[in-house]
């Protein structure tokens, strides 16, 4: 198995990296660590300092937020997902916990490497903006829904 080539193919399927030339993706894969998490292990925990983002190569994981009432699962991510980018983009602590819900294989992309790639490939930056804007849109939608529900309940 040519692990590296496989990883490059995987990276290309992620919209964020779709426009990056293959040679650079290979370099990114070569310099990134491949890490396996067992079911129940955390990729990172909410509140930790963020030093890397992860591409999920196989398996799936839960996105969990700590609330005063305990842990709350907000999303589920699986193959080809790119997680953990917020903390390294904005230099803030992890906003959520990612916990493997089965055996998960990831490619760990270090913060400096990712930022450097962004600098070198403006397309990647635009892609990041697009993804984030997308997410903002859906979050706003959910927020509106939630507000409506609250109003209904209050009424």
């Amino acid at each position: 198995m040519a692990g590296l080539q496989h990883e490059v193919d995987l990276l290309r399927r992620i919209p964020l990296f779709a426009n990056v030339e293959p040679a650079k993706l290979k370099l990114l894969a070569f310099t990134s660590e491949r890490i396996t998490y067992e079911d129940g292990q955390e990729l990172f925990h909410q509140g930790d300092a963020g030093d890397a983002a992860y591409v999920i190569i196989s398996g799936s994981a839960d996105v969990i937020v700590d609330t005063p009432d305990g842990e709350f699962r907000v999303a589920h991510v699986d193959k080809n997902a790119f997680v953990g980018e917020i903390a390294i983009l904005c230099d803030v602590p992890r906003t959520a916990t990612i916990k493997a819900s089965e055996r998960v294989e990831t490619l760990k992309i270090m913060k400096e490497h990712f930022l450097r790639m962004l600098k070198e490939f403006p397309e990647m930056g635009i892609e990041v903006m697009r993804v984030l804007a997308d997410r903002l849109g859906s979050t706003t939608e959910e927020l509106t829904d939630a507000k409506n529900k609250i109003r209904e309940l209050q009424a």
Partner: protein, 909 residues
């Protein structure tokens, strides 16, 4: 010390000097005889003098003396000798000659060894005295002393003294008497010629020393320069970090070059003067025969001097220059060593040296506990520049109180800490600790009843355990069970006495169990563990133990237990959740988590032969690869790696963060590898240069599939590597046998650490938290097998390195603290130690120490005087002293000082 070297020599070796002189004179007749005999052999039996007729005989060993006629007319015959014919006479004389050669040789042998011995003994005495003085210097004196200079003085500068001491008296006596005899003979032959010789010799002895005066000054300067040079070298080495961070290497180079240059010019001038003097000397020596020939010849021609007399005078003069030269050389050496001696001892003379009595071991080795209180009245301390460190401090504390002193740096708080531990002498006032005034308290009391931990703890090179026990070694307690070296102890003692050295035995047991509050070595071990726990060093030392190695022959039980731990761990690794975390070493399987090189060698390299850096160029390894037909394949694999790296990294700027992840080579090496690739492209493997092969093999040797993921490993290649592994092990030549310790499932690997022996495999790449999880599991296994303590003991044997540099500053400080508590003092002074700890950790440590000081397990309560960096922590103490600008400005319970207008509150901020 004696200001003059000769007085020093006489004081300590008068008898020996006398004896050597006696022996030298006793040997003289034999020396003269051995000069005489060859003449007799040639003249007598060989040339036939006295053997005019075939039947003539000579008397062998005839002893007769013809005294001056006014005493006795005729000849006194003591022994008429043996009547011998010509041939037997020749044999007898030759045998006598051989006998003389032996006797002279033996005399020389005896004299030289004897001289060597007194010289060496005196040197030992002198060095010991100098060191003894260093130990008695007042602490403040060390501000002016450079360690390398002291070392040079004690070791090198006094060295020539040893050679000289044996010759100090005997040589001038002997040579001068020889010269005198020769001179007397000349005078007896002819007054005039004798007079000439005498005048020249007198001239030599008068002029030469005058010329030498300038030499003396130069020699002094040279010695000082050389000493300063070693001081500078020491400074550079100690402060190397400063040199680098300030980019002053070139400044230092210039300084060194300048000093070396100065030494050169001094020496050059010295040579010029020295050899000019030598020239003058030689000239004067040759001037005398010139006069003899001229004046003597003139008289001979005139007929007023017998030619036979002239020849005898010239012959006698031949014997004169050599003793004179010897004398002059001796004098030269005398000057040299005398200067060295006075220059050295000058440096070891200082005021206020500690009296020897204060440092001696007390009677019965008993030191009574301190009782009463600390009483400081009007104490002032002024340093050597006249700066006031402390002024009129007055306070009283019960000895057992736990007190803190706070204040900014140089506020006087640290000075009072030093005063209480006897490290700084009050220049005014009086400081009393228990029954003693700190200025004349015996060292035994302050060193045993008061413990001190300063800002920095200096550890000499030793094991951790030796460093911890250092504070218990005040006196030899039990003689050693066996002599560690092959010199009998009685002889060692006798010789030490002759050289005025200490006769205390370093090999004895110095560890004072009683002082540590224990009765046996076992209890001590337990206590050491406890104090190290208090200072939170136990886990560090356990980790050092895990990373340490043991000699399985020296500790067979531990090695066996480690093997058990290995088996146990391996079983656990077979099941979830640890499954796949480790790839264990198995000689029949390729280890995917290890490098290809490690898989080939399958062992730990010992020394450089098979070390990673050399493996790819090692002839035996290359031969093995060739035999197993792997060389070409691995070479191509190396090419593949190099190509990938070159392709991926070639257009990146050198500072690109990606380079950090590149394990095969550094960014600077990439261009070189590109060249290698070009050179080897399309070239038949057989024609590739050896260094290119090694360069590329190095890459394939470093390859780990799960880590690098280039997909270069195949089952076929693995099988071949396993075969090569077998071959490498089977055919390892004898001379390389020590270069590798092979992995063996059944045996302890001496070259690997305990941890690697237990793990016996490689942690898998890419498993989240892999090393940490395995580390935890190893600890669990060790705890279950009751091995923690054994590993801890291995950690205790860890060598801390020069100045304890293999530990960090905090660990060193902690050892200082542990050592201080271990000796159960009555008062413990902690002077701004541990300030690198954050407030929380520092407070925790203070509380732990305070618990010990409150009696803890041992039941021995002792006082604390803690000079704190962080005033906030003063709240933990019973009493607080606040210092400001060298004065005590406030004291009391911390609660009483908590008010917002207090100085303490101001310091806490």
């Amino acid at each position: 010390m004696e200001p003059s070297l000769f007085k020093y020599i006489l004081r300590h070796s008068r008898k020996q000097q006398l004896w050597i002189a006696v022996i030298v004179f006793a040997s003289m007749p034999f020396v003269l005889l051995s000069y005489e005999l060859p003449k007799q052999i040639v003249n007598g039996p060989i040339q036939g003098e006295g053997f005019d007729s075939p039947t003539a005989t000579a008397d062998f060993l005839r002893l007769a003396w013809e005294p001056p006629s006014f005493i006795y007319d005729g000849e006194l015959v003591f022994f008429s000798g043996f009547d011998m014919e010509r041939l037997p006479y020749l044999v007898a004389l030759c045998i006598a000659f051989l006998g003389l050669v032996c006797i002279n040789g033996l005399f020389k042998f005896y004299i030289n060894t004897y001289k060597g011995r007194i010289g060496e003994r005196m040197l030992r005495r002198l060095r010991y005295e100098l060191l003894d003085r260093v130990l008695r210097f007042p602490i403040a004196h060390f501000k002016r002393v450079k360690a390398p200079e002291v070392a040079t003085m004690i070791k090198d500068e006094v060295e020539p003294l040893g050679e000289f001491i044996g010759d100090a008296f005997s040589l001038p006596l002997f040579q001068a008497s020889q010269a005198a005899i020769a001179l007397a003979f000349i005078v007896m032959q002819n007054y005039w010629l004798g007079g000439i010789a005498l005048v020249v010799v007198l001239g030599q002895t008068l002029i030469i020393p005058r010329l030498r005066r300038q030499l003396l000054v130069l020699m002094k300067r040279r010695q000082l320069m050389a000493r300063a040079l070693s001081g500078r070298v020491g400074e550079i080495v100690d402060g190397i970090a400063e040199v680098h961070v300030n980019d002053t290497t070139n400044y230092e180079r210039a300084d060194l070059a300048n000093r070396l240059g100065q030494i050169f010019f001094i020496r050059y001038e010295l040579f010029q003067r020295k050899y000019f003097i030598k020239f003058l000397n030689n000239f004067l020596a040759q001037f005398t025969p010139f006069l003899f020939y001229l004046v003597g010849g003139y008289f001979a021609i005139r007929g007023s001097l017998d030619i036979g007399q002239l020849i005898a005078v010239i012959a006698a003069y031949k014997d004169l220059p050599s003793p004179i030269r010897e004398l002059i050389n001796w004098d030269q050496k005398r000057l040299d060593v005398q200067i060295k001696y006075s220059q050295v001892i000058e440096q070891f003379e200082t005021d206020n040296m500690v009296e020897p009595d204060r440092q001696s071991i007390p009677d019965g080795n008993v030191v009574l506990p301190l009782e009463g209180q600390i009483e400081v009245s009007n104490v002032g301390v002024t340093d050597d520049t006249g700066a006031k460190l402390l002024e009129r401090a007055t306070f009283k504390l019960p000895l057992q109180q736990h007190a803190a002193a706070v204040g900014l740096v140089n506020s006087g708080a640290e000075t009072i800490g030093d005063v209480l531990a006897g490290l700084a002498a009050p220049t005014a006032g009086r400081a009393q600790v228990g029954q003693y005034n700190v200025e004349d308290v015996p060292a035994a009391v302050i060193g045993r009843r008061v413990a001190y931990v300063g800002v920095e703890t200096y550890l000499p090179q030793a094991s951790v355990i030796d460093s911890v026990l250092y504070g218990l070694k005040h006196a030899p307690l039990q003689p050693p069970t066996e002599d560690s070296d092959n010199i009998p102890r009685t002889l060692e003692i006798a010789e030490a006495r002759r050289a005025g050295n200490s006769i205390l035995d370093i090999d004895a047991n110095w560890i004072d169990f009683e002082a540590a509050g224990v009765k046996s070595a076992g209890e001590l071990q337990h206590r050491v563990h406890k104090v190290l726990e208090v200072v939170e060093l136990d886990q560090d030392i356990f980790d050092l133990g895990l990373r340490g190695t043991i000699d399985p022959e020296g500790a067979p039980e531990l090695a066996e237990s480690v093997m058990k731990a290995r088996t146990e761990l391996r079983e656990r690794l077979l099941e979830a959740p640890l499954k796949d975390l480790v790839d264990p070493f198995d000689h029949e399987k390729y280890n995917h988590q290890a490098t290809l090189g490690e898989n080939l060698m399958f062992g730990t390299a010992v020394g450089d032969t098979f070390a990673d850096a050399n493996l790819a160029s090692n002839a035996y390894m290359l031969g093995t690869l060739e035999k197993s037909e792997l060389d070409g394949e691995l070479f191509n694999m190396g090419r593949g790696i190099a190509e990938t790296v070159a392709e991926l990294f070639s257009d990146l700027p050198e500072d690109h963060p990606f380079f950090e992840q590149l394990s095969f080579m550094s960014s600077e090496e990439i261009p070189e590898y590109k060249k290698v690739l070009t050179r080897t492209a399309g070239v038949d493997f057989a024609n590739v240069k050896a260094e290119d092969i090694s360069a590329l093999l190095k890459l394939s040797f470093a390859y780990i599939e799960p880590r690098h993921r280039l997909g270069l490993m195949t089952d076929e290649l693995e099988a071949k590597i396993l075969k090569a592994r077998e071959m490498f092990r089977e055919n390892l030549p004898e001379e390389n046998a020590g270069g590798v310790e092979f992995y063996d499932e059944e045996a302890y690997n001496q070259a690997s650490s305990l941890q690697d022996n237990i793990l016996f495999g490689r942690v898998s790449y890419g498993m989240a938290q892999g090393p940490a999880r395995i580390g935890e599991e190893i600890q669990k296994v060790l705890t279950e097998l009751d091995l923690r303590d054994a590993v801890f003991q291995v950690g205790l044997r860890f060598n801390v390195g020069t100045g304890g540099k293999r530990l960090n500053a905090l660990q060193r400080s902690k050892i200082g603290l542990a050592r201080a508590m271990l000796k159960n003092p009555d008062l413990m002074v902690v002077n701004r130690a541990l300030s690198s700890l954050d407030t929380r950790a520092h407070e925790k440590m203070i509380k732990a120490v305070m618990e010990v000081a409150s009696g803890g397990e041992s039941g021995h309560r002792f006082g604390l005087f803690w000079v704190l960096q962080n005033a906030e922590l003063a709240r933990n103490f019973e009493h607080v002293l606040v210092f400001e600008d060298g004065a005590l400005v406030e004291e009391g319970e911390p609660v009483a000082l908590a008010g917002s207008d207090s100085k303490l509150s101001a310091l806490v901020g």
